[in-house]
């Protein structure tokens, strides 16, 4: 994957992520959750009010037991933990601190309230116990004192009744003046025990202690109820409600903002998409246009390549024809010479034959002896001259020479056929060395008097290939090698064959020429690249060679050094993995030889 692609994916992912975040933000406010919190808070407030009522009912004696005062504890705990769960999501968000703070201060005050209510219950129980006992205790004490005759009933009973009366009134209206009166009467009672029997003294002490308990517990109860009264549980719940509502409002505002952002973002995305689409359409058009022009260029190029290949073919053919013409010309001239000589000899032989015929005719006619003699002398002289000049021997020798010349020409033709292998199948078993030999013969004219050929042929197996194509490569390389050798130097062309591993054959074609300059080297296999003058080379030779070796699943390499020479190394598989006629498509476009 290219860097641009990765960047593109990252950008797309980011855009989508932003979209998801914005959508999530617009859904962040759970109205139902908020309603549940509000309901819990309402329940808490309701419970708090009910609890206050229950405490007052206990205080005023309307409630006979404290179950109703104790029950809210569990309900408070469960409401608090429910609220904690419901608000857990709020804390940590914006405005969550205020909620946490309000919850904390509610907890503090409710804890104080729980403690106060507990103390109230304890206090109230004691108060009620003592107040309940006071009348009985007073009655028992009064009865006892009266019975014991310590004091007359009308003296002690009103005092005790007054104490009970005032103590119970103190519970209803704890006024300081009443308290002082009670304390005064208690002091009066306290002076009695000295004159009382032990049992009555204990009763008096108990009675006094219950009166004191009533006073003490009533005061303590007032303090506790005063505390309870000012404990701002309801206010704290309101503060908590406000904090939660405030946060809810903020969340709603944030949601609204997020919605606006989402709309803006969506519009921006749509615009971006539209822009991208228009760009895409434009570039698609551009692409189509350039594709069309490229196709045209490609067609033109193909056409010109066909032309170039054809031209290469013709140029190679021209070279070859020149070489072959020369090769054939030499024996031909020789044969012509001998034939001309023989033609000259024919006149002597014609005269001899004519004289022989005349002599024979004279003999048959029984002509004059003088005529016969004259003719005989003439014939004898002619025969003698023919024999003496060894005309027939000469002609025989000349015919033999002609025959040799003709044989040479014939050989050239055979090689030509071998080279092109027109008589064979496209793919066949081929001895590379044979191919090199034929190629050398065809290039003989180019190499003659200039290049010495060194052959270092190892024994190699036949390979399966298209012989005409491989020969074309050889001819191309050998021709190039010959042309690379400067005229002022004795050229050496070394041809080597060897095995490369078990299933490959290596051919090396080495010259001691000028070498290939470094700036040229990378381009030598490019089509149409040539160092020759315009019109002299097509620049297709090496490119075609490269293609041929490639289609044979082979390899062609070049190693060169300036002023030392160049070696082309070809490796070919004994059996190419795919011998496909289609793979050799180039064949049709190949020149017969270069």
């Amino acid at each position: 994957m290219s860097k641009n692609k990765i960047l593109g994916f990252a950008a797309a992912a980011t855009l989508i992520a932003v979209l998801i975040v914005l959508v999530a933000l617009t859904r962040s406010v759970d109205l139902e959750a908020h309603n549940r919190i509000v309901a819990t808070l309402r329940e808490m407030k309701q419970l708090d009010a009910e609890w206050n009522t229950e405490v007052l009912r206990s205080k005023t004696g309307f409630s006979e037991h404290y179950d109703a005062v104790a029950r809210p504890l569990a309900q408070l705990a469960s409401l608090e933990s429910r609220l904690e769960q419901q608000t857990a999501g709020l804390i940590g968000r914006e405005g969550g601190d205020a909620v946490a703070l309000a919850l904390q201060s509610y907890r503090e005050v409710i804890k104080k309230k729980i403690d106060a209510v507990e103390h109230f219950k304890s206090q109230n129980a004691i108060l009620r116990n003592s107040s309940r006992y006071l009348p009985t205790a007073a009655q028992e004490l009064g009865d006892g004192i009266t019975a014991a005759g310590v004091l007359p009933a009308e003296k002690i009973v009103p005092l005790l009744a007054d104490l009970v009366n005032r103590s119970l009134s103190y519970i209803l209206a704890p006024e300081q003046s009443r308290r002082e009166l009670i304390e005064g009467q208690l002091a009066q009672l306290g002076r009695l025990p000295a004159s009382l029997p032990a049992e009555l003294a204990e009763k008096a002490r108990l009675f006094a202690s219950h009166v004191e308990t009533v006073l003490r517990q009533q005061d303590a109860g007032d303090v506790i109820l005063g505390e309870l009264d000012v404990l701002p549980t309801a206010e704290r719940i309101d503060v908590l409600s406000d904090a939660i509502a405030g946060q809810h409002d903020r969340s709603l505002l944030a949601q609204q903002q997020a919605r606006q952002w989402l709309i803006a973002y969506s519009v921006a995305l749509l615009l971006a998409l539209a822009w991208l689409a228009s760009r895409l359409i434009r570039s698609f058009r551009l692409l189509r246009r350039s594709n069309a022009s490229l196709q045209k260029a490609h067609a033109e190029l193909q056409e010109s390549q066909v032309y170039m290949v054809q031209s290469e073919k013709m140029s190679a053919l021209g070279q070859m024809v020149a070489g072959i013409a020369h090769e054939i010309n030499t024996p031909l001239a020789y044969v012509k010479g001998t034939v001309d000589v023989m033609h000259e000899q024919i006149a002597g032989l014609t005269a001899l034959l004519g004289s022989s015929r005349r002599f024979a005719w004279l003999m048959r006619q029984q002509a004059d002896k003088s005529d016969i003699r004259d003719e005989f002398v003439k014939l004898e002289a002619l025969a003698k001259k023919t024999v003496d000049d060894a005309v027939l021997e000469e002609m025989d020798a000349l015919l033999e020479s002609s025959s040799n010349g003709i044989s040479q020409i014939s050989e050239i033709v055979v090689n030509l056929k071998n080279f092109s292998r027109l008589d064979r199948a496209k793919v066949s078993q081929f001895d590379v060395r044979e191919g090199l030999e034929s190629t050398l013969l065809l290039a003989k004219n180019l190499l003659k008097n200039k290049v010495r050929i060194d052959k270092e042929f190892d024994d190699i197996p036949n390979i399966s290939c298209s012989p005409s194509q491989i020969n074309q490569v050889f001819l191309n390389l050998i021709t190039n090698a010959a042309q690379a050798i400067p005229d002022d130097r004795e050229g050496v062309l070394t041809l080597r064959t060897s095995r490369a591993g078990t299933d490959r054959v290596r051919v090396e074609i080495q010259d001691n020429g000028a070498g290939i300059p470094a700036d040229v080297l990378p381009k030598i296999f490019d089509p149409f690249f040539t160092t020759k003058e315009v019109g002299k080379g097509t620049g297709m030779g090496l490119s075609i060679s490269y293609k041929i070796i490639q289609t044979h699943a082979g390899r062609i390499e070049v190693d060169t050094e300036a002023e030392v020479g160049t070696v082309f190394t070809i490796e070919l598989p004994v059996q190419p993995p795919v011998v496909d006629d289609d793979a050799m498509l180039i064949d049709d476009e190949m020149p017969l030889a270069a």
């Binding site: 005062v69 519970i171 108990l206």
Partner: protein, 326 residues
Amino acid sequence: MHAMLKRRGGPAGLFLSLAVWAGGNAALAAEPIEPLPLRVELDAAKVALGNKLFHDKRLSRDGTIACASCHRLDSGGVDNAPVSTGIDGAKGGINAPTVFNAGYNFRQFWDGRASSLEEQAAGPIHNPIEMGSDWQQVLAKLRQDPALVAQAAAAYPAGLSDETIVDAIATFERSLVTPSAFDRYLRGDNSAIGLDEARGYQLFKNYGCVACHQGVNIGGNMFQVFGVMGDYFAKRGGPTKADLGRYNVTGLEADKHVFKVPSLRNVALTAPYFHDGSANTLEDAVDVMFRYQLGRSAPAEDKSLIVKFLRTLTGDKQARSLVATR
């Protein structure tokens, strides 16, 4: 109340009008004690699991103590010892309260430090002189019991965990409800208890016991100072940390010697009495209460009637299951 005052004769009329605040509301208000509910709705699978765990000694470090070791279901939900014996024979610091009807207590433990049975259940498991274990140990042991693990998974989606263990035990404990003859009496069956017992109940109210022992659990819904009208601890001697009661939880001076008022249900079965297990008999306990809480004396006959009443609070069948499958 009125009848009693009249019976005693004398200048009762003098106090009659004044007694309206102290006791007169009895006519207007309901009884200070309410009967146990007739039905308790709980999840039977959780109750069964809790029952098993309640008796499971693997909850203790050395596998010798279960919840039921101290809260014996066959003897009033207590062990009848002044203090309980934990692992390695360690003696606890306080008398074990009964597990029966504990679900109706407003808080758990004598000092009320646990606000729920669930909170309470974890306490003894971690107490070094009770079960001396921890959840990691307990869970490691229990998870080797495939049957228990399967039972827990059937009762709870979460399966076996510290939370489900305490929930199951607490649920089981809520099923330990013990309706008694007195509950039937409260529901209007006047023959459910004898005349003496009924008189005992009247005395229980009149003497002011009911000021603290009231509500459905006859106690268990408030705290009270032990020694309202006299210094119990000075008299007894040998102060312990446990004697400080709720002070150990709140640190408030006012909470010194303050304890949860215990439920009187099944009280006849749960001797010895008080947080220190100092009273061996109900009579002793009633005497102490009169002396230090009510600050008054009473004829022995009245006390024995009150004790008779207290015996009607014993459940008909121990730990009768009132559980209706929900």
